[in-house]
């Protein structure tokens, strides 16, 4: 079987050694050759000295998820050598630094082992400890360039762009590339059967991470206040916003910054600032992760009940508690949907990739203001921090923010009296006003029991009137939220339902299963509360696999709580190792379940 443009490289290094630049260089050079590629970073919650891996999947078919196997392993970390060699697929390759002897007990007969004296070559050619360590990484990129037939001109071009301001570094890096390249050419049979050949599949595409894309979405939505408390893996979203704002929001004439960027003392304050700013008419947002959502819960309940817009990006990481901060999961689904005590419920959006992060980020502000409630955009570490190949982001210059139902001075002048929570339009959404406009628009915002006129109450009927209207508002929300995405004709008897970053792995798994004669429909849910389309899809299938990345089947719980589905028809495929789910996991899960149950539906599946 040809492995041209269809294989997986994994690089094991030590964090803090500068391997990220070498890995990005490799991935980008493949991308620039027009070949679909995926890059995933498995890094420790640590600054320096712990094992870290980078996985590059070259996929001519355009699959963006982990396949579940490794064809070529680059072992730069002696500490993880034993587990790294075990991971290589039969018939695969392993490259190691042969400067030092390799323990014989770690041999594998079914793997081709290639030794390159990387440290020795770099010690002989470069001066300074730090430079030698950095160049050792660039050097393995050179080895791979020869073995995989990468375009060296593309590598030089990328280096020239990276070091545009330090041309001397381009030459030094190219020297390291050539050291590796020439050594491989001289000693090995290049290229390997695993190799690349140029394609034209990446035009109009970019390689971008979801945090960056979401930050751009906030810029284009017109967000002006960003408040946050640093937490992995959401921090880079705020960093990106600041960086884009510094580039695009400084008034050329006055030098004024048309945004406020506030590092709060904790997550409680961060969400408080977001509420204060939105309440006062600015578009404001925060980004956090699971522990932050826990801390923000009290304020989220206030925002739900007092009907204050807010946008929150939850870049989910592994829980419970501190969990594994640099690993990915979809484990805040329930915590986000029902954050806070009392009868509360929140609008959640589930982007599947960075492209969707961009558009959903902008849409989240429109929805938050239209619905006057918090909107949580549920990324995860895999989407947020890994570079994904996705279609070019485009912006429609005709866009105008939807500020929702806001009464300005003129509108206030036309009414006799303003009442904050009276349902004039019978859609559950009431009118609001901003401070500083007109004393007629003044009202009192409170988390305590209130009447539809905004006044304090302990009266049962008046309290329930407002609470029931909020239920109607969420019924309206279902109609406004992004629709789910259906793949298939909807007529198969079995199906997959999922959300977020599982998408890539599922799409590949569906193709694999299809080739085996198993045809499944697939619905990707993009928002909570669930729309009628979700109800209908579930009702139309006898067996539904719920694919998600947590232990407790949180998405399945949400579906059983919030739809009419008989929960016996929902079967869970749960991936919660902390690594992104692979297509193999889903294929294996479906096949095992079908075999085990010898399901009645198997007739239609074949």
């Amino acid at each position: 079987m040809s492995r041209v443009n269809d294989f997986v490289i994994k690089i094991a290094t030590v964090n803090g050694t500068g391997s990220a630049s070498a890995n990005t260089l490799l991935m980008k050079s493949i991308f620039r050759s027009g070949i679909p590629v995926m890059g995933k970073n498995y890094f420790p919650s640590n600054i320096q000295g712990l094992p870290t891996w980078y996985e590059i999947r070259v996929s001519k078919a355009g699959y963006v998820a982990r396949s579940g196997q490794v064809d070529l392993m680059v072992c730069m970390n002696a500490e993880t050598y034993a587990r790294d060699i075990r991971e290589v697929a039969t018939g695969g390759y392993l490259i190691y630094d042969s400067t030092w002897p390799r323990p014989a007990l770690l041999r594998r007969e079914d793997v081709t082992v290639l030794g390159v004296p990387l440290a020795r070559m770099c010690n002989e050619n470069f001066k300074g400890v730090r430079t030698r360590i950095l160049m050792k990484n660039i050097c393995y990129a050179g080895v791979l360039a020869a073995l995989l037939d990468l375009d060296v001109a593309k590598i030089r071009e990328l280096l020239a762009e990276t070091y545009a301001k330090k041309p001397a570094l381009v030459d030094a890096n190219m020297q390291a590339i050539e050291l590796g390249y020439n050594y491989a050419k001289e000693h090995f049979d290049c290229p390997l059967p695993l190799r690349v050949t140029p394609m034209d599949q990446t035009a109009d595409h970019i390689m971008i991470d979801g945090n960056t894309a979401a930050a751009l979405g906030c810029i284009y939505a017109g967000a002006t206040v960003a408040a946050w408390y640093p937490i992995t893996p959401s921090t880079s979203l705020m960093d990106a916003f600041k960086s884009f704002a510094d580039k695009t929001r400084i008034d050329p004439e006055t030098g004024a910054a048309n945004f406020a960027f506030i590092q709060a003392e904790d997550e409680l304050a961060a969400i408080g600032m977001v509420l204060g700013a939105n309440w006062n008419g600015a578009r404001a947002f925060t980004a956090t992760s699971g522990p932050g959502v826990s801390l923000m819960s009290e304020f989220l309940g206030l925002a739900y009940y007092a009907e204050v817009p807010a946008v929150l990006f939850d870049v989910q990481r592994v829980g419970p508690s501190t969990g594994m901060p640099t690993r990915t999961q979809q484990c805040d689904l329930l915590a986000a949907a029902y954050a806070s005590h009392g009868d509360t419920k929140h609008v959640c959006l589930y982007p599947a990739n960075p492209e969707e992060c961009f558009y959903m980020a902008a849409q989240a502000f429109d929805l938050a203001e239209r619905l006057q409630t918090p909107v949580m955009v549920m990324l995860d570490l895999d989407i947020g921090m890994n570079d994904w190949m996705c279609r070019d982001l485009v912006w429609d210059d005709a866009y105008q923010p939807d500020r929702g139902k806001v009464l300005d001075k003129e509108a206030l002048s036309k009414i006799e009296k303003f009442h904050r929570y009276v349902d004039k339009d019978e859609d559950g959404i009431t009118y609001r006003t901003f401070p500083g406009v007109d004393p007629k628009g003044a009202y009192f915002t409170r988390g305590s029991g209130h009447t539809q006129f905004g006044t304090y109450t302990e009266d049962s009927a008046e309290y329930q009137l407002v609470l029931d209207r909020l239920t109607r508002k969420f019924a309206t929300a279902k109609r406004l939220l992004p629709k789910p995405v259906l793949q298939g004709d909807g007529k198969a008897r079995a199906a997959i339902v999922s959300l977020g970053s599982c998408d890539g792995a599922i799409r590949e798994a569906l193709d694999v299963l299809d080739n085996r004669g198993i045809h499944l429909d697939y619905l990707r849910v993009r928002a909570f509360p669930f729309s009628e389309e979700v109800e209908q899809f579930l009702a139309a299938h006898e067996l539904v696999y719920v694919v998600e990345q947590n232990r407790d089947a949180q998405f399945r719980s949400l579906l059983t709580l919030e739809t009419r589905i008989d929960k016996a028809r929902l079967r869970s495929l749960l991936h919660y190792s902390g690594l992104p789910v692979s297509s193999a996991f889903i294929v294996d899960g479906v096949l095992a379940d079908l075999a085990e149950g010898q399901r009645a539906v198997s007739g239609v599946l074949s």
Binding site: G222, T248, A260, F261, L275, N278, N280, T433, F434
Partner: protein
């Protein structure tokens, strides 16, 4: 039902301010606090202060947390928006609101429980961030709504209604604020309206974080013998040390102070605060000296009151430090905020 609207009838002979508004226009709903509560006197002082300097009611934003004190934002200036947030978190709401629109007056009303226990962190960080707001702590040393537990401002040795004696040292908001660099720090007493009104006026106009800690006895749970926050004890131990007058820039200063006693602090917008020292060895413009002086008197069991510290400039005010435009962020047109599709293509170049 505890919401009682006040009838809106103004007698034609009521005096009017520069906006043509009467004091009635600065009132709120009827208070539901206990009869005789110090907080109601503070509410009256705020009403008087806002009327006196002709603040547009819609330009006053009233913020609070949870507790008896936090309820009072409903009892003044009905024409201004109010936000009664969650316990101890008012400063973050104030920060966000202020970030969105720098051109309004922000008044935060909090209590000793709300600011010195559950909200101590947010209180401190609002000062560090120098949010332009007037922050009033209605300080009575107890939790009222939960019936009389000690708060973090209770003095060592003070007695609870049921006889329990407090052992833990108090947190003093005035010393804390000075320590954190606040440029306007005052203490007053709910029973001294003449002192309180000009302090509120000056605090509302101070271009940065302004704190007034107002001793405000709780008639129900902390007004007994043995309490150091009772009316009787406070009247006996409070000592005005510096009197302040707020003078809007368009008005002339008329003083009858003896030479050497008065200091005029001119704020950036031309408004002035006149300070009249009642002790010759005290300099309220010098933070460190003021801190030591106040602390020495606390050790002697005396509550010094007045504008204890005031700096003319407040250079690191949040918006100044962040170089935001003079126009409110919430008023910037979208065209100024969107970089446009062409710029998006340029921004994305490095991701290709």
């Amino acid at each position: 039902m505890t919401f009682i609207p006040k009838p809106k009838i103004a007698h034609p002979s009521l005096p009017r301010n520069e906006l043509g508004l009467t004091r009635r226009d600065y009132e709120g709903s009827l208070s539901t606090l206990c009869a005789g509560c110090g907080h109601d006197s503070i509410t009256a002082a705020i009403t008087e202060a806002c009327w006196g300097i002709s603040i547009r009611p819609e330009n006053l934003v009233k913020l609070s947390g949870i507790g008896c004190s936090s309820k009072t934002t409903a009892y003044f200036v009905n024409g201004g928006h109010g936000f009664n947030s969650v316990h101890g978190r008012m400063p973050s709401i104030a920060m966000g609101a202020n970030a969105a629109n720098r051109n309004l007056h922000y008044i935060g009303i909090s209590g000793d429980g709300d600011s010195l226990s559950i909200g101590l962190g947010q209180f401190c960080h609002a000062i560090r961030r120098n949010v332009n707001m007037l922050y009033i702590i209605e300080n009575n040393g107890v939790y009222g709504l939960t019936k009389g537990q000690f708060s973090a401002s209770a003095d060592v040795g003070t007695k609870a209604k049921k006889g329990e004696v407090n052992q833990q040292p108090p947190i003093d908001p005035v010393l804390l604020a000075m320590n954190l660099g606040a440029g306007f720090v005052a203490r007053s007493f709910s029973g001294d309206k003449a002192q309180l009104v000009p302090l509120i006026q000056a605090g509302l106009n101070y271009p940065g974080f302004a704190l007034i800690d107002v001793l405000s006895p709780c008639v129900t749970f902390n007004d007994h013998e043995g309490s150091t926050k009772s009316y009787a004890y406070t009247r006996e131990h409070y000592e005005p040390i510096v009197e302040a007058d707020f003078v809007p820039k368009q008005r002339e200063i008329v003083t009858d102070y003896a030479a050497g006693e008065a200091i005029t602090v001119t704020l950036h917008d031309g408004n002035r605060v006149n300070l009249r020292k009642l002790a010759s060895d005290y300099d309220p413009t010098e933070a460190r000296a003021a801190y030591d002086y106040v602390q020495q008197h606390i050790e002697k069991g005396e509550y010094l009151t007045g504008l204890l510290h005031c700096r003319a400039t407040s250079d690191n005010e949040f918006h100044v430090a962040n170089r935001t435009p003079l126009q409110a962020l919430n008023a910037l047109p979208y065209a100024k905020l969107s970089p446009g599709s062409g710029q998006l293509r340029r921004l994305l170049a490095r991701y290709r």
